[in-house]
């Protein structure tokens, strides 16, 4: 009886346990099978946090890896209006830190939106202040801001970005997809306190960095000299391009007016236009290079062939065309040197329209060059069938044809490099981290195209040198280097009359240096210079000279002609006479941000004057061409000989000891700077006799 009771109790206990277990497992099964998704999402919401990684734009560097554009993280303030309890208080506190009015902030907080930006891209102080307020509903979000540390430098090349970091001009626009990078959301695992346990690694790298062919120092020289010309001739606009003729790489591309890409909204669209690649102008006399090159290439003319320039007037298809001067008989070389319109017309007439047109197209006019910059213009070259009866005459002297400065310098470079037309390019390489990416698309390298024969190019280079030596381009003559070029003064169409304006011109100069192995091609184009004369020889050629004389030594291009002795002696004398009483103690800091752009050139002139006054006497080795007379070193010590040679710019080679007894070259012979002077040292005859 007792045992039966025990069995019953056990059975009840087992039954209850089984029921409990069934209930538990049943519930577990139900949750696992039917509620899995719901609870999984709940758990993930609780345990995971999504972190948004804003895309960071790649940097833009010059050819020497100097940063021209880069992005740094900044904070932006936003609000979730639903979470803000005291709108009045929040408006008052936040507006003070953000530099806004309380009404503006209140309007945003009462907008009813679930998310509203208060102010983006805040300065560090403002974001710190907002952080310290610790207001519920007011938050900060990390974004990136684009900075252009060199401000206006190469602004048209670099372009700019909008507030959402989308490229809107220049390289920023052209390679926006690559530079921008990709935004990404990372899922982080968090603990109960929302502290991140594991956040994983971002799958996408930052945007691609672009290395340009631009050299910031050459760019600065080009911009400074352009600004000086603009200021001197009160011109509204202008461009300077410096190109490597052997590769087509653009070393500098400067435009005026320029703008600060850090604040692009402060200038109108016109100022942001890259005139060097999108502005079409009639090239004027510089186009005679193409006329003559085509004729030379077809063996239709010789350099010493004489043309009758008709005393400055020629009639073509019933139209009388006047030359800018009354020339009679001129050789082809003189036609180019003196920029005779009649001579160029006669050469073009001998060439014929068809061949002339073919060469114009071959030089790349009428089609985009393919440079890796946006908004390039194709120029304006009318199809041959649309040419008028005297179009050949007009085109031969650079009228009825529209070119961009980039097209013109590319064509001149082809003459400089021996007849190959390179595609101009401005992107040298692209990098993602340390990895160099292959260039494709618009930046892909292209095989150069032969336009003229090397012999033709050599002839043209010699003729262009003649332009500078004894033609219209004398103002472009360089000290220390040979150079070739061509001036151009193209009349602009007066929009009111529809005729060529007698006052508004585009003064230009296209040239290269040195002649035998050109290192740079430079184009200077100034729109509507004021005053008179305002031709290319007066306006643009001196700018070419100043730019070339700064760039060539920077690029270590060896001099191929001696310097002008008069110029050297004059500058040396001037320096010797300068007052030396002022020391270099003016080290007051300069606020560069406050310097107005318009005063830059005045400031430069003022600074030059100040510098002339303050200039200390500096021991310089002076190049006096082949005009240095070797002194007599006999009987002098090694120290005296060395000092004397250093002072004269000679290179002493010292042999032996004691006093100088012999020298080569002998005393009195005139030598060039850097000539080695071998001086032999030993006992002088008198001393030798004594010893004997």
């Amino acid at each position: 009886m007792e045992q039966e009771k025990v069995h019953v109790r056990l059975l009840v206990l087992v039954g209850v346990a089984l029921f409990w277990m069934l209930a538990v497992f049943g519930r577990v099964g139900y949750l696992q099978l039917f509620c899995h998704g719901e609870y999984l999402s709940k758990a993930q919401r609780q345990q995971r946090r999504t972190i948004e990684i804003t895309p960071k734009r790649g940097a833009i560097y010059d050819r020497n890896m100097q940063a021209l554009a880069m992005s740094v993280p900044v904070q932006s303030a936003f609000a979730v209006p639903g979470e803000v309890k005291d709108v009045e208080l929040a408006s008052r506190l936040v507006s003070r830190e953000l530099g806004m009015t309380a009404d503006e902030v209140r309007a945003k907080l009462e907008s009813g939106a679930s998310f509203v930006w208060l102010k983006r891209k805040l300065p560090q102080a403002s974001s710190d202040a907002i952080q310290s307020l610790n207001l519920k509903g007011i938050y900060l979000l990390e974004e990136n801001q684009r900075f252009y540390p060199k401000r206006e430098m190469a602004s048209h090349v670099l372009g700019f970005v909008d507030v959402d970091e989308h490229g809107l001009g220049g390289i920023e626009h052209e390679y926006d997809n690559l530079i921008r990078g990709q935004g990404e959301k990372l899922v982080a695992v968090t603990d109960a306190r929302q502290k991140i346990i594991e956040s994983g690694e971002a799958q996408h790298d930052r945007g691609v960095s672009v290395v340009l062919t631009i050299d910031e120092k050459i760019q600065y020289v080009a911009e400074r000299e352009l600004a000086a010309v603009i200021a001197k001739f009160r011109a509204p606009a202008g461009s300077v391009i410096v190109q490597d003729p052997n590769t087509g790489a653009i070393l500098a591309l400067a435009n005026w007016p320029k703008y600060n890409p850090n604040a692009p909204q402060e200038v109108d669209t016109r100022k942001r236009t890259d005139r060097a690649i999108s502005e079409i102008y009639e090239p004027g006399s510089t186009f005679k290079l193409m006329t003559l090159a085509a004729a030379f290439d077809q063996n239709l003319i010789r350099a010493d062939e004489v043309f009758n320039c008709e005393n400055g007037a020629v009639t073509v298809a019933g139209h009388l065309i006047h030359d800018h001067k009354k020339y009679g008989l001129l050789t082809v070389e003189e036609i180019l040197a003196n920029s005779s319109d009649v001579g160029a017309i006669k050469v073009a007439l001998r060439l014929g329209s068809q061949r002339f047109y073919d060469y114009i197209r071959a030089f790349g006019f009428g089609t985009p060059t393919g440079v890796d910059l946006p908004a390039e213009s194709r120029g304006l070259v009318r199809r041959l069938e649309h040419w008028g009866s005297y179009s050949i005459a007009s085109v031969s002297m650079g009228q009825e044809v529209g070119v961009t400065p980039l097209q013109m310098i590319t064509a001149v470079s082809s003459v400089a490099n021996g007849g190959l037309l390179y595609k101009p390019h401005i992107v040298q390489e692209m990098r993602r981290g340390d990895q160099i990416l292959p260039l494709d698309g618009p930046s892909a390298a292209a095989e150069p195209k032969r336009v003229i024969r090397p012999e033709t190019a050599a002839t043209m280079r010699r003729l262009m040198e003649g332009v500078i030596l004894h033609g219209t381009g004398k103002n472009a003559r360089l000290d220390g280097w040979t150079a070739g070029g061509k001036t151009g003064t193209a009349q602009k169409i007066d929009p009111e009359t529809g005729r060529y304006s007698p006052t508004n011109v585009i003064a230009s100069f296209s040239g290269f240096a040195p002649i035998n192995n050109p290192a740079v091609t430079i184009l200077v184009s100034i729109d509507s210079p004021a005053g008179y004369p305002h031709d290319g020889a007066t306006v643009a050629a001196p700018a070419f000279k100043r730019i070339a004389e700064q760039i060539l030594p920077y690029l270590d291009v060896p001099r191929d002609v001696p310097l002008s002795p008069q110029l050297i002696q004059a500058s040396y004398r001037a320096r010797k006479n300068e007052p030396q009483d002022e020391s270099l103690d003016d080290l007051t800091p300069v606020d560069f941000s406050a310097q107005p752009e318009a005063n830059e050139d005045q400031a430069s002139a003022l600074a030059a004057k100040e510098a002339a006054v303050k200039m200390p006497e500096v021991m310089m080795a002076v190049d006096e061409g082949g005009d240095i007379e070797v002194p007599d070193f006999k009987g002098k010590t090694m120290r005296e000989v060395t000092m004397s040679c250093m002072r004269l710019g000679l290179d002493p080679v010292l042999v032996g000891t004691r006093l100088a007894i012999q020298q080569t070259p002998a005393a009195g012979i005139k030598v060039r700077r850097g000539t080695k002077i071998t001086v032999e040292f030993g006992d002088t005859p008198a001393r030798s006799g004594k010893s004997k």
Binding site: N64, Q66, A67, M70, V72, P73, F147, P149, K150, R151, M153, D191, K195, I197, E198, S199, K217, Y220, R224, G480, E549, Q550, P553, L555, D556, L563, L567, I568, S571, Y572, E582, L584, D586, L587, T588, V590, F592, Q595, A607, A608, E610, A611, A612, V613, M615, V618, M619, M620, A621, V622, D623, E624, T642, M646, G649, D651, P652, V653, R673, G674
Partner: protein
Amino acid sequence: MATAYRWSEEFPQGPKVHSDAAETAMRRTVRRFQQQMKDEAPSKPLVEFPVGRGRVIGRPVASARAKKPLMTEIYTVKKIDNSRLTRHVEPVKVRNLYRTVALGGLIALCMMAYVYQHFRCIDLSFQLEDLKAKQVQAQQANGELKLEIATLRDPHRIDVIAQRQLGLKRPDAGQVREYANTDGSEVAALQSVRINRAP
């Protein structure tokens, strides 16, 4: 009046007597107890007596009015000597026991190791995240410094400092002398050689 002794429930096996001396002592104690029972009142509560190593708890059984107990019940302790018995332990069982214990220990160790590495992993994850945050901060600082360097290297800024503050002037074309190589004899002329040339 009968006096009854019973063993306490606390000592179900009874007092353990293992020697003659102990047995003698116990008997002596019982006798003394009986004597005491005669002298004391019958309604005395249970009392405890030390017997050898154990204790004896008893209550005198006697009439309340009688001076002498009617009957004395004596339970003698039966001596059981198991000292000659030896426990036989099977080696296989011992080995199995050891194996089981070792296996259990190993499992426990593994579980502890798992738990340790789990928490260690979480701890390292926290440290990793802290380092990542520091890395991001360092990268930001690096970017800001690079920006500052780039700003300071602005050619326009340098030009203005050179001309306005230092009173320098751009050299004329003939004033810069450049050497192809700089051996000993040309060192003195290096002052006129531009040092910031393009790479």
